[in-house]
């Protein structure tokens, strides 16, 4: 599957510029797909808004420092590890997860996610695919940086990609 990095113009804040990815053949980027899917049910809407507020405030005020992201294998996720999830009474409900890749304190790639329904992500049918793709993309980007196909411009908060580079997972 070919993966393209995509800019999100409204999420280019003073401290952080957010990006996402588009899988070839899909109508929307991964982050937009997450936003659309999680806006359907009232149960998800408030949690989605809280995740978005974290993204916005981290972008405007704080910067993408590691304490605001929970590490998940080679990738990360939001909400932050200190976020207090309001339990719904369902013992298998662990709240929404948005998988992402914190490249630097000023560049973050927002991916996709869902409601987590098992303690271990490996046992969660909703989240495992998103988690697995996030860590695969993260490893590919790390490899591409090492091989010189991707450069990070922290001052401009920009990801620079070689015209000949194509990312596949």
């Amino acid at each position: 599957m070919i993966v393209q990095l995509v800019k999100i113009p409204e999420l280019a804040f003073e401290k952080v510029h957010y990006y996402t990815v588009l899988f070839e053949g899909r109508p929307y980027s991964e982050f937009r797909d997450f936003l659309i899917r999680m806006s359907q049910e009232d149960k998800d809407k408030v949690e989605l808004a809280e995740i978005n507020r974290y993204i916005q405030q981290i972008g405007i005020e704080y910067g993408a420092h590691k304490e605001h992201f929970k590490e998940e294998d080679a990738a990360e996720r939001l909400p932050p590890p200190y976020h207090q999830f309001i339990e719904t009474g369902d013992p298998d409900d662990y709240g929404l997860r948005l998988y992402c890749i914190r490249l630097t304190p000023s560049i973050v790639i927002l991916l996709n996610g869902n409601r987590k329904t098992a303690l271990k992500v490996h046992n969660c049918k909703n989240c495992y695919t998103h988690f697995d793709r996030a860590r695969k993309i993260s490893r590919k980007i790390t490899e591409a940086i090492t091989d010189g196909f991707i450069e990070i411009d922290n001052e401009e908060k920009e990801i620079i990609i070689d015209g000949d580079f194509e990312m596949t997972i």
């Binding site: 405030q57 450069e151 990801i159």
Partner: protein, 149 residues
């Protein structure tokens, strides 16, 4: 070294702003305070060169217990806040009275001016109760039990 720069596509996400604009005020405050407190605690730990295990030892807790507090698995009780403040040697939660006593006047003025500007921006009126409280602080008076408000 990248030889030929690829132009990245851009995609608008209008749903992002809609969700934030329509979220309950309580949820916004909850997220903002979570970020503010967590950021401040981690900043203090960094300034003081404390790792999580050092802070846990100072609080008489195991690293796992502290980790649960910082990970939001336990609600931060006032007792936990007190232990954190004692271990870090700094105030984490501050009331207006505390601002009046604890900070030097230049810092206090800056903080209060910031609060005042926010209140005025939010209400478009400098004469709200909160604005009067801020004005009294900035004049060095405590509004506690004051009948002047």
């Amino acid at each position: 070294m990248v030889k030929k720069k690829k132009i990245l596509k851009a995609e608008s996400t209008p749903e992002f702003k809609i969700t934030i604009d329509s979220m309950p005020e309580e949820s916004k405050i909850f997220v903002d305070k979570s970020l503010e407190i967590a950021h401040y605690i981690f900043q203090l730990m960094e300034q003081k060169g404390l790792k999580q295990r050092d802070l846990a030892a100072k609080m008489g807790k195991t690293e796992a217990e502290l980790s649960k507090i910082l990970a939001g698995m336990h609600n931060l009780t006032l007792r936990s806040v007190a232990k954190l403040e004692a271990a870090l040697g700094a105030t984490i939660i501050c009331t207006p009275k505390k601002i009046n006593v604890a900070f030097p006047s230049d810092v206090k003025t800056q903080v209060l001016e910031g609060v005042k500007a926010k209140i005025e921006h939010a209400t478009h009126s400098p004469l709200t109760y909160e604005a009067k409280v801020v004005r009294m602080f900035s004049k060095g008076k405590s509004p506690i039990n004051s009948e002047a408000i």
